[in-house]
Amino acid sequence: MKPILEIQSVSKKYRIQHLAGGYLSLRERMKEAFMSKQNVAEDFWALKDVSFEVQAGESIGIIGRNGAGKSTLLKILSKITPPTTGRIVSRGRIASLLEVGTGFHPELTGRENIFFNGSLLGMKRIEIAAKFDEIVDFSGVEKFLDTPLKHYSSGMQLRLAFAVAAFLEPEILIIDEVLAVGDAEFQKKCLGKMEDVSKSGRTILFVSHNMAAVNSLCSSGILLKDGAVQYAGEIKNAIELHINGDARLFVDKAGLRKLSRDLNIESITIETSTIRVFDEFRYSFCLVSKEPNPITGLALLVYSELNERIGIIDLRNNALVSKSSSQKKICIEGSIYDFSLIEGNYKIGLYLSSALYQGEVHDLIMVQVTPPPSEVLPYEKQYRGLVEFKHKFSIC
């Protein structure tokens, strides 16, 4: 049987305009028009020679870091933008959910939005009317059907949007980061619906940063890196490669760090750059100076990806003070047991107050924390704060 979707060496080029000298004024434009044109545009290949095949009924997860080309690939698949070279052969209708709720209008009521959005996604009017009750049921907003959407809470809007999309019946469904919308109950409904969809023989292309969701929904995966396919195959391998590939990158960067002319941080290592929540986090590093460098203050700094300071680890003790005033090389090793931060990337920095150097370095090394296994899909990260509590509970 022929594959339902064949992507044949697809590439996509964008032109990036570099605006020399900050703002582009009208005067600059005029000058440009009359003077010899300087080449300020640069080609950027968002996708490079991407090829893969999808069999009917398969659920494929497309993963990769930001800017790896995932969204561009989906845009090409859903015909929003054409590829620069290459071609795609599709043997089924494609519908895409690039961001739910596209086309929702705040002035229209819930009922009106269901019809307009459904039609926009490719449903016939009769189809929508036939499924109307199911859609409303699924979204759980029946009380507000005739209220303008602008009076809905954002959660209600998202639920309505997903509900409409969930009742689409194309052969190939493209989903971009729609899961984990709303509360746990609704999430479960969504996951169940998606499983139904894939069981009914339809093909799903799923793009997400939520590895837990990708893992549970997809059988195989495509890992994109800098616009090219890095791996295509088992979803488990793709996820593994995705996470560890990132980690390697950070370790390479942090081989040696010059703090001042006479002072280096050397051999910073962490046992593993990917740890699971609640695992022990081991680290070690050495400070090397040309002459003994008495240290009065030393601390590890833990920063979030958004550069919030999460906490510090105070490394001052008597041994440090005495050894640093006599030795040229000081090595420190330690561990944080119970690394109880929610999943994500954290930057480990250093604060040092010494004779040769005084100051802070914020990104010595990066550590990635992965979520613990759980029987439900975790809530979205933005709702979960910073700390993962070690806890237990029971239903009585």
Partner: protein, 276 residues
């Protein structure tokens, strides 16, 4: 669901018009138009009445200033009827052109996320104007009765044809401006000015015969709206008044603009999502 559809997505794929695809998406014309009409009159007290009141007020103003004060000739029609018949179509043209020219930019969020034939967007914007036309047309009938205006039976083909010519005459420039607007937002500022200028250059509130120089008359009838308005007034003034040369010049220019507009739109539509 079960029929097997095979298609390819390629860089060079460009259909000339895509009529088949448009037909498949025909319901979307309806939904876009329906949505825009709903939104247009949401949270207004008078609602659809606005579609009637606008041309009515315009008619009163023009009648007072041009009809009474300046005594502009009106092809032997009562001036209010003369100007209202012109304004009916002109309003459809000007609101249709403005909203279709801005339609692609206003719907950029949808364009960037979902595929459908892009031509639907500017077309629906014009269909909204058609709806307003019908609303205002309701007022035109009592106006004709009030002035006891005789109407020729030719109205049954003249009026629909006039509406059709207006739609096509709006679609061409509308598509062209919509496509240009996506890339160069400058056109957002050009459009109101353009419409204002066209209003005085099209014989809406004065007959083309008002101009004494024949050459100037030939220039004025280049406006696609000339043919539409002339056709619309024909059953009122009598078919003997028809200037076929002028009509064909106007038709020709309208057809030309329609081709240019739609072709340019189709040529650039693939990249709307990248620029919008």
């Amino acid at each position: 669901m079960s029929e097997s559809i095979e298609f390819t997505i390629e860089s060079s794929k460009r259909t000339l018009f895509g009529g088949k695809e448009l037909w498949r998406y025909r319901e979307l014309f309806y939904f876009f138009t329906w949505r825009d009409i709903k939104i247009k009159y949401k949270q207004t007290v008078l609602g659809f009445l606005w579609a009637v009141l606008q041309p009515l007020f315009m008619m009163v103003i023009f009648t007072l200033f041009f009809g009474r004060a300046l005594n502009i000739p009106s092809q032997d029609l009562p001036y209010p009827i003369f100007v209202f018949s012109g304004l009916l179509l002109w309003n459809m043209f000007s609101t249709g052109l403005t909203s279709s020219a801005n339609s692609m930019v206003n719907n950029s969020a949808i364009i960037k996320k979902i595929y459908f034939p892009r031509l639907i967007i500017p077309t629906s914007a014009i269909l909204v104007a058609l709806f307003d036309f019908f609303m205002a047309f309701v007022l035109f009938i009592p106006l004709l009765l009030f002035y006891k205006q005789p109407i020729s039976f030719a109205a049954w083909w003249c009026w629909p044809l006039a509406v059709f010519v207006t739609l096509m005459g709006t679609l061409g420039p509308g598509c062209l401006l919509a496509a240009l607007n996506v890339k160069y937002r400058d056109f957002r500022y050009v459009i109101p000015f353009l419409i204002q200028a066209l209003f005085f250059l099209t014989p809406v509130i004065y007959p083309v015969t008002l101009l004494k120089y024949p050459l100037l008359q030939y220039v004025l009838v280049l406006s696609p709206m000339y043919a539409a308005i002339e056709l619309f007034r024909l059953p009122l003034v009598g078919l003997a008044d028809m200037n076929t040369t002028f009509l064909f010049i106007s038709f020709g220019s309208g057809t030309f603009l329609l081709l240019i507009g739609v072709l340019y739109f189709k040529k650039t539509e693939a990249f709307f999502a990248d620029f919008a």
